[in-house]
């Protein structure tokens, strides 16, 4: 399935194609020059210290306290570019939600049944189940890359437990606090995550003031910072699986020293719900508790299902997709398989259920031996993979505070949106820019990438 011809480009976010500075970046460049390298180095250290003090972490090893590697130089997105992104994300979220409703409660005709039923995250037990307010996707994360001239291309959707919204907020907060000069000359588009989340929670529950909790795997989880941060920001209890149980009335209860309390909504940040809270699935299916995100959303996290999202938009919205997505190949087809095997060296292979950078193989960056082993796997199990064209997406300046020099690294953009019970979508301006390591195109934090603040500017 083809979704548009994406030409290869080499783009640095702050430069025009003729090498001149993009007008939107000019005030930022002036501010950087005004500060000078020694002052920048000091500010970088201050920002890193603040991150360490606030335990702004992303753990790769639970035994090791690791602050999120951050480049504090902001990425700038002009408001008109953002407008397209925002509309595209909202359109996609609504189409996916509609599809999931049709998948579980209707008779969807968009995605071939063998694709759907072979999807690891398809939940047959949800057949005929309608979630609260017909909303499956409450929190949505989408990975984009910039190809130049405001053209953003989608790499993948994140629908189960997308993480990063707190990282978006914290990088912006620390960056603006430590380097306020960089904001000079800009009108940064503000947003309010707290209100959007609380409104979303309230709109999904039947009671006026619902009791909501945030379910975390534990403080040893990689994104625990985000769990703690959101629980504190939203002022809702942070609970582990052992804190929750399903009571005799079929409702979910939280164990508390001063008396257990009933829970109306679980903002879950874990995948295997039954493992953490036995009986939670049944309570959910009996409509005794609301889950954010709903069960079953993972069906659209599948990298193969991704190929049909533009068709979902056409089918359910009656529109063409606003944002294009990376050209991808369904390897169940012998023609596609042959093409991919012939051009393997220039493509990206992804496992259908991979996440966090795992299961992503950028073939041009791998050695010959590794490539031939993957080719063999592809021949033996084509249904496990999809192939995607390798995009030469944009780079951004990053500052190395040790050497005092600027470097260029590949960057992507994870954008977050929430959908409330009234079907209204809020897309949070800016998103989280993720930065690759040197000589790599993988930007995931789990794979060693770092992040940087992103501002939408008017």
């Amino acid at each position: 399935m083809l979704t548009g011809d994406i030409s290869k480009t080499t783009l640095n976010e702050h430069l025009n194609s003729d090498g001149s500075t993009r007008p939107v970046y000019q005030p930022l460049m002036d501010s950087l020059n005004g500060l000078g390298v020694p002052e920048l180095q000091q500010r970088w250290r201050d920002a890193n210290d603040t991150a360490a003090l606030d335990a702004f972490t992303f753990m790769l090893d639970p035994r090791e306290f690791r602050t999120v590697p951050t480049d504090w130089l902001p990425r700038l997105i002009p408001a008109d570019e953002w407008d397209t992104i925002s509309r595209g994300v909202a359109q996609r979220l609504k189409a996916i939600n509609h599809f999931l409703l049709d998948l579980y409660c209707g008779d969807q005709q968009v995605v071939p049944p063998d694709v759907m039923y072979s999807c690891q995250y398809y939940n047959p037990e949800l057949q005929d189940y309608r979630p609260a307010s017909d909303v499956f996707v409450h929190v949505y994360g989408i990975d984009l890359v910039h190809m130049g001239d405001g053209r953003y291309v989608i790499l993948e959707d994140n629908l189960r437990i997308p993480s990063g919204i707190a990282y978006q907020l914290k990088t912006t907060q620390i960056g603006l606090n430590v380097l306020p000069e960089l904001a000079g000359g800009y009108d940064i588009v503000p947003y309010d995550i707290r209100s959007a989340y609380l409104d979303m929670f309230a709109s999904l529950c039947e009671t006026d003031s619902p009791v909501c909790v945030l379910l975390t795997d534990s403080k040893f989880g990689s994104a625990f910072f985000e769990h703690r941060y959101l629980s504190e920001l939203l002022d809702i209890p942070l609970v582990e699986g052992s804190d929750l149980y399903v009571g005799h009335n079929g409702r979910v209860w939280a164990r508390c020293l001063d008396g257990d309390f009933e829970v109306d909504l679980v903002y879950r940040r874990v995948e295997d719900l039954e493992l953490f809270v036995p009986g939670l699935t049944e309570a959910y299916l009996d409509h005794k508790v609301v889950l954010v995100n709903a069960m079953g959303t993972g069906a659209c996290d599948d990298k193969l299902v991704f190929l049909w999202v533009p068709d979902m938009i056409k089918a359910y919205q009656g529109e063409e997709a606003i944002l294009e997505q990376a050209r991808s190949y369904d390897l169940r087809s012998p023609e596609n398989r042959q093409y991919v095997l012939q051009n393997l060296d220039s493509l990206v292979l992804k496992t259908r259920q991979g996440y966090g950078g795992l299961g992503v193989f950028i073939m041009p960056d791998l050695d010959k031996g590794y490539r031939s082993r993957l080719a063999q796997q592809l021949i033996e199990q084509p249904q496990v993979f999809i192939a995607q064209e390798t995009l030469d997406f944009s780079r951004h300046l990053v500052f190395d505070e040790t050497s005092g020099e600027f470097e260029e690294r590949h960057v992507d953009l994870r954008v977050f949106a929430v959908q409330n019970g009234r079907g209204e979508v809020t897309v949070f301006p800016g998103g989280l820019t993720r930065v690759s390591e040197a000589n790599s195109r993988v930007t995931n934090n789990s794979s060693g990438g770092s992040c940087k603040p992103s501002w939408v500017v008017r």
């Binding site: 360490a52 534990s218 941060y229 939203l234 804190d243 008396g259």
Partner: protein, 178 residues
């Protein structure tokens, strides 16, 4: 009798199982860090008062380390082990583990206070070279620990927690003013 639904609206009453578990362990690790710091501080004070050198201080600390289950075959390393190197009983380990528990229990203010205490031991150049250095360093750690206790006291008994919610509120306010 507490009205069950009301508990969920009061952050100070969210004593869920996991929170209690982390609260207890945070207390235990803080106490261990505090005890070990006071032991070193005491020996260092005596050494400074008596005009003893670093070798004598290390030898005195060797037995204190042994009591804490730290094998010190080389007495010259006793101070280093107690401060930073030992995987279980060092002050550094106790503080970092307490901070881990605090991330589940406390507000960002508590985490900051504990991180400040941890930072005193992360600087390689801060490693004491004399009994006076050891005295000053442990005084500094005790000061940082006092700041931690004050935050705990404020948060638990006076409800003055600087939470991420408050940090965010101030941030939004600041943005609006700009």
């Amino acid at each position: 009798m507490v009205e069950p639904r009301s508990i969920a609206y009061r952050p100070d009453r969210w004593l869920t199982d996991s929170r209690v578990y982390n609260l207890i362990w945070m207390g235990r690790w803080l106490e261990r860090a505090d005890n070990t710091t006071r032991v070193i501080n005491n020996f260092a004070r005596v050494a400074v008062e008596n005009g003893s050198d670093m070798v004598a201080l290390q030898q005195s600390l060797n037995s204190a380390a042994a009591i804490r289950g730290i094998p010190t075959e080389d007495p010259r390393r006793a101070l280093e082990l107690l401060l930073r190197r030992h995987e279980v009983s060092s002050i550094y380990h106790s503080l970092t583990t307490a901070r881990g528990n605090a991330t589940h229990v406390g507000t960002v203010e508590l985490i900051r206070a504990l991180s400040e205490a941890v930072l005193t031991l992360e600087d390689d150049s801060a490693m004491p070279q004399s009994p006076l250095d050891a005295l000053l360093l442990t005084n500094q750690i005790l000061e940082r620990l006092s700041a931690v206790y004050k935050v705990i006291d404020d948060n638990w008994f006076h409800q003055e927690a600087l939470s991420e919610e408050e940090v965010y509120r101030r941030f939004v306010q600041q943005q609006q003013q700009q």
